[in-house]
Amino acid sequence: MIRRLLVANRGEIACRVMRSARLLGMSTVAVHSEVDATALHVALADQAVAIGAAPATESYLVAARVLAAAVDSGADAVHPGYGFLAENAAFARAVEAAGLRWVGPTPKSIDDMGDKARARIIARAAGVPVLPGSDRFSPADPAVTSATIEAAAAATGFPLLVKAAAGGGGIGMRRVDDPAGLAAAIESTQTMAARAFGDGTVYLERFVPKARHVEVQVFGFGDGRAVHLYERDCSIQRRFQKVIEESPAPGLDQATRTAMCEAATALAREQAYRGAGTVEFVVDADSGEFFFLEMNTRIQVEHPVTEMRTGVDLVAWQLLLAGGDPLPVAGQDDVRAQGHAIEARLYAERPAKGFLPSTGTLSVFELPATGAALLDGLPDGLRIDAGVRAGDTISHWYDPMIAKVIAHGATRDAAIDRLRAALAAIRIEGVETNLVFLQRTLDHPAFRGGDVFTGFIDAHKAVLLAR
């Protein structure tokens, strides 16, 4: 049993973790930077420790200070939330070495899944399909002939991307649709990569032209047993960040859904995974094929979608497992999902200006009423996880997400309608937000029809971003 929990985070996730901790009878310790001294997560905690200046690199990311705050405050466990130190294996090790409980997977799992190459190898070993791709090769290497390149391309499959191994930001990346364009694309990528990174090494990867992002929530007991809590579709993204998430994934056939959930559970079992994790897949919207992308070894921003559909308090499960307490679940049969749940992320940003962030003070911040308890009102509920209240300042120091609005309904349409009505009832002044953009997305016939894919916002921007 955990008695006192330090929450090593800020904003809505820190508030949300504290709610479950309190329901389980734990006292809570917040940490905060200088500019967060009066933040909501500090007000909700039983005690708070200042850990440094506003930049996260001087406060929330300084492992030694967070750990010292935990030890000095008498906490016996640390919950990292998401982001910041959540996937820092060295921090997890330090917490455990100090004799505290780490509310998360083992440092080994964090390390294994954080290394993308190793994660692919482990996924393959668990029988999980991974995106076909080639080994890295340098076209300047005399051992690499046009025959070996063609063989690698055939094994990868078309269309494919030629990517720079040293790269980032898509620099030099070329799409190739058939063998005829291969040699020129490889030469171009190699030249660009050599110029930008001083390394002309490239590799090939299958390109999915119309991709959906579908992920599976898993929970491992740390002893080789694991369950899944169904999938979430997170295809609506901007700047590679999710905006709307829902479960079940619209239009996904039952065989694919089952195969994905089983693959994700197998990956968790393979590692004797401990606690909450998310296995992310890219799904080819045309063929229905799915491929492993990565596993996130933490609680996810969009976890309430799953909680609304299953009635499970995932954070409570994390805390019970970390504290050595019995879980209210023995196996897959204990996990039931009903209806449809959908979440919209409320960001302080300006959609019409390329989703640039917006800063300021929330002179008005009014939310529609929701149930008092975390999972109140199921199966037809509304939940809002906010990290701010009226009068708070949204600074440029941290993430632009200020709240998550989650609705549940018997059908997808009912859930969308409930979310739409909740968004329409929100009043915010003092910063610009994506509220109107979110409502337009929910109203769009293509969204209503379930035609979601990662290029959705770009494809429909004339309507979604109109002035």
Binding site: P55, R239, A348, K353, L356, P357, S358, T359, H396, W397, Y398, D399, P400
Partner: protein, 73 residues
Amino acid sequence: MPIIEVRSEITGNVWKIVAAVGDRVEEEAAIVILESMKMEIPVTAPESGVITEICVTEGSTCSEGAVVARLQV
């Protein structure tokens, strides 16, 4: 030759200055990269020209609407 002001559209921290006084920059080329809400956001030249002044320093905070650089166009 007129000199124009290049202003920031957002509040952020000056992460990197990627051009120097005397540099000729093309329209939409980055002059300064700001960091705001975990994103790197470039402040770009509204027109092609030569930089006559950089008005910020790396690590400092830059407000929305603040002049980041001056450009002879």
